[in-house]
């Protein structure tokens, strides 16, 4: 009986298999980079999180620097790869002098998965130069305060699946959030221009 039932399943599988060849591939929609750029002035409170090497990282230690912050999580199958790749491109185009005055931060939106070791692997895959780029995680309670301060909404859908505001932001030398790019792929040329205008503002 088991053999006969198995035969029926096989027959159905073969039928569907043959049908699959007739199925036309669904064309992917045209790519769009619908990232919005907003100018704001919002004070960012000090926070202490943990970086990719497990060390405490205090935001106020960056006072006097221009900071580019991106919110992402390492197992994101959606926009985070675009966002982190954009930050990587920004880093590679900064001059040596600019790098001393610009700090890059990636703050996780999934502390459940993104422990320091996982963030270190993520940084390595993107070829991040850790001299001026830190990947931050921490207790969810602490992170929630940071997300809220930056206006990032975070909602867990499942293990390693998070809905969050795709924010990349510039914080000026005085600790004010000045430009918010909301969308999957901030334009690198635009971000560099904004960073340089805040670098010039001493």
């Amino acid at each position: 009986m088991r053999v006969r039932r198995g035969w029926h399943v096989c027959a159905v599988a073969l039928l569907v298999n043959s049908l699959s060849f007739a199925l036309a591939a669904t064309p992917a929609p045209a790519p769009q980079s619908f990232t919005q750029r907003r100018e704001v002035k919002l004070a960012i409170d000090d926070f202490i999180l943990t970086d990719q090497s497990g060390k405490a990282f205090r935001f106020n230690q960056l006072s006097g620097k221009v900071v580019l912050v991106g919110f992402a999580y390492t197992t994101c199958p959606d926009v985070c790869p675009l966002l982190t790749a954009a930050i990587r491109q920004v880093q590679s185009r900064l001059t040596g002098t600019e790098r001393k005055d610009v700090q890059l931060l990636t703050i996780t939106t999934d502390p459940e998965i993104d422990v320091p070791k996982v963030l270190a692997g993520y940084a390595k895959r993107y070829g991040a130069d850790l001299d001026n780029w830190a990947f931050l995680t921490g207790e969810e309670k602490k992170l929630r305060a940071v997300w809220k301060n930056f206006g990032v909404g975070v909602k867990r859908k499942g293990r390693g699946l998070i809905d969050h505001t795709p924010l990349t932001a510039i914080v000026d030398r005085r600790g004010f959030l000045r430009v918010a790019y909301v969308g999957p792929s901030p334009e690198v040329r635009l971000v560099l221009g904004d960073l340089r205008s805040f670098l010039a503002d001493r």
């Binding site: 009986m1 006969r4 039932r5 029926h8 399943v9 159905v12 599988a13 039928l15 569907v16 298999n17 049908l19 699959s20 060849f21 199925l23 591939a25 669904t26 064309p27 992917a28 929609p29 045209a30 790519p31 980079s33 390492t74 197992t75 994101c76 199958p77 959606d78 926009v79 790869p81 675009l82 982190t84 790749a85 491109q89 998965i113 993104d114 996982v118 692997g121 993520y122 895959r125 993107y126 499942g158 293990r159 390693g160 699946l161 999957p184 792929s185």
Partner: protein, 119 residues
Amino acid sequence: MDTLYAQRCFNCHGANGRGDGPMAALLPVLPPDFRDTVQRKSNPQIKRLITDGKGVMPAFEPALSQSEINDMLQMVRFLSREGRDISWWENFDALVAAHCSIPWEAVLGYDDPPEEKKP
């Protein structure tokens, strides 16, 4: 299995594994066509890519169980064949569910199979 692929892979790798998902063109490097790459790789090699990631591709090991990673491997292997796409699984699942809901014993009279009559 198709849900796993739809949630974690589809955006970049597309419905048929050709690397033409909705996010693909925005990536710094286009995702590979499974028909070219997966066919040339062993199962352990593909599993390593899924678990450890590569470039902008996430490392899924921290988020997925071993059985989910194995399912993902099977899906990738399946899509690497010419003419396959993710909708195959959707149709397959529905047909298998329909097939299994039919009382075949009653329909085909399998209530007394010959082998069970043996002493």
